[in-house]
Symmetry: C2
Subunit: 605 residues, 2 copies
């Protein structure tokens, strides 16, 4: 198997030699800067076997290197063994970035300009200096990659906002046009798939776990053109998709072919005078940007952050109402699963991490409106849980035993929202260290849940609230405390976050964010407690206007591994109240057996 | 009295008319960007009567406006009444800055280029646009201000670092030259007075409370030239100063006249080739910068942040050792004062805020090595304490009564360091609100004192730790939580801070910072608890390297207004331990009477 990757890299090097390229760089992304690409764009995986969700690859004639962050260090070392590809660690002190690394090792660097955003290619180009050249070779691997997957064409559905929450398409378009008017731009190109799905209220399954449609959207003051692979022009005839197109066209959106975006961008016939185009270089790909630069005078290209990102992050009243119910439904599935797991393991049934993951998905699938999982379940027992992004193997995953900690991080996509929850489950007796870690992480999660803060506060300003209980014990975790969560969209979205790194975006009422401090001990165990929280108004005082969090996630937190003296009275009171709320909300929807079990689980500590 | 200011502004307007200036702007600073200027540069006060420590003034033909922040709103409104000068609030939402305000109201703007730093004048100039002009008129007020004070010429002393801590002058110069070598610059001009005092280990009293010498320092790889008013060239003959000059000259520092800085900067005779000059535009004044631009080709002027600021903020081992003892000595004075105050008020003696302030200074003056106060004592009872920067009036200050809260914020300058301490003292019975505010502010101060954080953490990342107890009660304070403190230097110094606003400077071991959350209720009371804390190494774990704080301030915190249930068990334990430590450290230096009293004050709650 490993020899496959060695051969593929050798074939690429032959191509490089023939073309005179010193280096080739591949991103782990797609033409839309997606966090997770469709199979067609898993170029790094095809070349190296590395399946992590973040990883960029550099190939020179005598070196192959994968750049990835701490979430994937262990996975990368395992998967890259025998391929000749070396791991370059990112986000560590002294890390050397790809542009820095290339600067004294290559003059001519080939990139698949479709899969790198404008900013990233500019960094490489700047690092190479005046004597260096970046060659844009779109779909460079086509000639080597036999049977390379096509752009996916899953059925497209439109969302009925009356039932499922949100704002109608026409209103979103009007809002964006108003923004364009104020900004003084004639056209705006949307390239990010979740922004497009949100704008048009459309969903598909083009990317695993992300209900997106691979497409571009071009909006001007008098037209909206949607460039999508499944357009009628291509002879695609899925009836649901055709219905969706008809519905969308009734809102004066023209559906066009995916590749017609190039023509669409340079089509000025309607306009009398030269037009101004707005693009967001953080998601626009380099190849398309080069085309735009050829079509528009430079003073007519306006770059900036797309306003859709912020608008999308602030959920509407109807979305929030749906999210509350969706989290109750999701909690019911979680409790059924946790009950099942406890009983199986108690009964001595050899349940593996994989079995548990499958069972959990089955419980979620029972929920009306379920459209799939929002990411790959992380089902990890003991040492597996020490990998923050553990990928549970189908064959040979660990058996869950009646002691120690089991961690399950999972979520669902529903017509009424997206969920993301982590519970760390004490399966029986735990060590002192497991209980300490369990309690300190929980205290951090609860302290953040109880936070109140002035309007204008950014997530990075309150990140330390979640970490301080761990910090005081000189413990820490390497990832963010919270990410934005989409509404039946990507489970990770911006612009807000709660993290150690600087991010000036204030938390706004209506934003939905995860709260997930953690602790990982390699080879031993991992702990993560994750709830989804809604930022909301918390009233006014003579000292200003206040915000706090409403916890949306509704699933009990096991108290058996809690050390009450470490948790402290305030957090303990919160925990007892939370568990009682969970019981009251969920028990009407559970069988007597499970409800009785949950009653015992949620008794105050 | 108010008519004086009206007349002065009228005289200035006559000058403006004669010269064709649309507007004149004055800063509250001096040619060295000092936080507190000497009397000569209190131009805003001379024109308006406003005595606040931060305030910039704009005069046009039909408007006079003072720009200041929330610390001085109430004071400004009182002091400006009847002068025709209007208050413009800064650092509030929607605040309009001076450059913004001027942009559509003036074309020709005169500035005293000596008293504005480069960055500030650039902002004004940018706001005026191409059609606007900034006219630099140094010492513009000279022709109107009869008897304008001269540049102060207080005696200069040198510090004996063997006894009083720190690093010898030669080593500091070597260190800076090494930095210049790495940076590739030939000369460096230091303009900030505390940087110069630190570099040369010199002190004087040119500015109230700030032991500084008004001067410039020009360092090249083969010479050091100190431009100071008191140079022998000017015929100044104070014997201590002359001794200091002799000592400094032994370290190859040439002492020259203050105004010779211009000549010194353009004196290239020693060098063979054109030299490169480093300046820090955040403290360099516009007038001098203009001169530099005329003397150096633009590519030979390197701008950036002076490295002295950071180096100075990290105290040496000997400085830290001295600081510990200095805070014990300062604590003895504080305890004597607090004992005296309590007994006087109990006995029904009518002690005013002013009396108390005077008495406190007397106690401090008894300490060997005392060189004055580090800022104007804030001695405030009841409503006066609601002004964060209350200036205690000599006549008519409030009498301290045997109930409610008295706040005293004060500090000393000693040969072995600078102190800054605030205690809020319950004088007897307190209201529920006073006790709540007292306790919540104290909890914030203690929570921050107990913080542990990874190396690399900036103060702004842990500011919320100090605020959260208040935030949860929807209370807040408008100033920073902590500022750097100099070593027998300015009581406010950078680069670190602990504040809500972004400041990326990590806290480093050896930095000395205040920890002073607060709460102010206009017309009622103010609470502030302030200790000085030293950032220190707290060991390593598998999760990284850790820092925490050692509290230097040694003075008991009154427990009579503490609501223990609000404080919580962890902070209560800290408080009891702190008070016990204070008693153990201070009692050997107190009379039996005061020690006994302190024993009772420090019994665990």
């Amino acid at each position: 198997m490993k020899s496959t990757y060695v051969e593929r890299i050798a074939a690429l090097r032959a191509l490089m030699e023939a073309r005179g390229w010193d280096a080739v760089v591949f991103s782990g992304s797609d033409p839309h800067s997606s966090e997770y690409p469709a199979a067609r764009w898993k170029q790094v995986e095809w070349l190296t076997g590395f399946t992590g969700e973040a990883g960029d690859l550099v190939i020179t004639m005598n070196h192959a290197g994968l750049w990835t962050d701490s979430r994937y260090f262990i996975q990368a070392l395992t998967q890259l063994e025998g391929t000749g590809v070396e791991l370059h660690k990112t986000r560590i002190p002294g890390a050397v970035s790809i542009p820095q690394w290339l600067s004294d090792k290559a003059k001519t660097v080939a990139v698949d300009g479709l899969c790198w955003n404008v900013s990233a290619v500019k960094e490489i180009s700047d690092a190479l200096g005046e004597e260096g050249t970046v060659v844009d070779v779109p779909d460079m691997l086509d000639e080597l990659w036999e049977g390379r997957p096509h752009i996916p064409m899953t059925p497209i559905t439109t969302l009925d906002v009356d039932t499922f929450g949100g704002t109608v398409r026409r209103d979103k378009i009007s809002w964006l046009r108003k923004w364009m008017l104020i900004k003084g731009v004639d056209r705006m190109l949307l390239t990010s798939l979740d922004e497009i799905a949100w704008m048009l209220n459309v969903r598909a399954c083009d990317i695993d776990y992300n209900p997106l449609v691979i497409s571009y959207l071009l909006i001007s003051h008098d037209s909206v053109r949607w460039f999508v692979k499944k357009s009628v022009a291509e002879g695609y005839s899925d009836p649901d998709t055709l219905d969706s197109f008809s519905e969308i066209e009734m809102d004066d959106v023209v559906v066009d072919d995916y590749d017609a975006v190039f023509f669409g961008l340079s089509d000025f016939s309607e306009e009398q005078s030269p037009v101004t185009l707005f693009v967001d270089p953080s998601t626009l790909n380099h190849h398309l940007y080069t085309y735009i630069q050829d079509s528009y005078p430079s003073e007519r290209i306006v770059t900036g952050t797309s306003p859709v990102i912020l608008e999308k992050s602030v959920k509407t009243e109807s979305e929030i109402e749906n999210l509350r119910q969706t989290h109750v439904d999701d909690g019911v599935a979680m409790e059924k699963f946790l009950y099942w797991l406890e009983k199986e393991v108690e009964a001595g049934v050899p349940v593996t991490e994989w079995d548990a993951s499958e069972r959990l998905t089955e419980f979620r699938a029972e929920i009306p409106g379920y459209r799939g999982n929002s990411f790959e379940n992380i089902s990890a027992y003991g040492p597996g849980a020490a990998l923050p992004h553990y990928s549970t193997p189908k064959e040979g995953s660990a058996v869950i035993r009646p002691f120690g900690l089991y961690l399950v991080d999972s979520g669902g996509q529903y017509l009424t929202g997206t969920t993301d929850i982590t519970r760390t489950v004490p399966m029986g007796e735990c060590t002192q260290m497991e209980m300490e870690d369990y309690t300190l992480v929980l205290k951090g999660m609860i302290d953040l849940s109880m936070a109140v803060f002035p309007k204008g506060t950014a997530g990075c300003q309150i990140d330390s609230i979640a970490r301080m209980p761990l910090w005081k014990a000189k413990r820490n975790f390497g990832h963010g405390t919270g990410h934005g969560v989409g509404y039946y969209l990507c489970v990770h979205e911006g612009p807000q976050s709660i993290r150690y790194q600087y991010n000036p975006q204030p938390l706004l009422p209506g934003m939905v964010t995860s709260n997930e401090p953690a602790l990982y001990r390699e080879g031993m165990h991992g702990v993560r407690h994750e709830n989804i929280v809604l930022c909301r108004e918390a009233g006014e005082s003579e000292f200003g206007e206040w915000l706090d969090f409403e916890t949306l996630t509704c699933c009990h937190i096991d108290t058996s591994a809690v050390l009450p003296e470490l948790l402290g009275p305030e957090a303990l009171a919160w925990l007892n109240e939370y568990n009682e709320w969970v019981y009251q909300r969920l028990s009407p929807n559970l069988s007597c057996e499970v409800a009785e079990w949950l009653r015992a689980k949620t008794l105050p500590l």
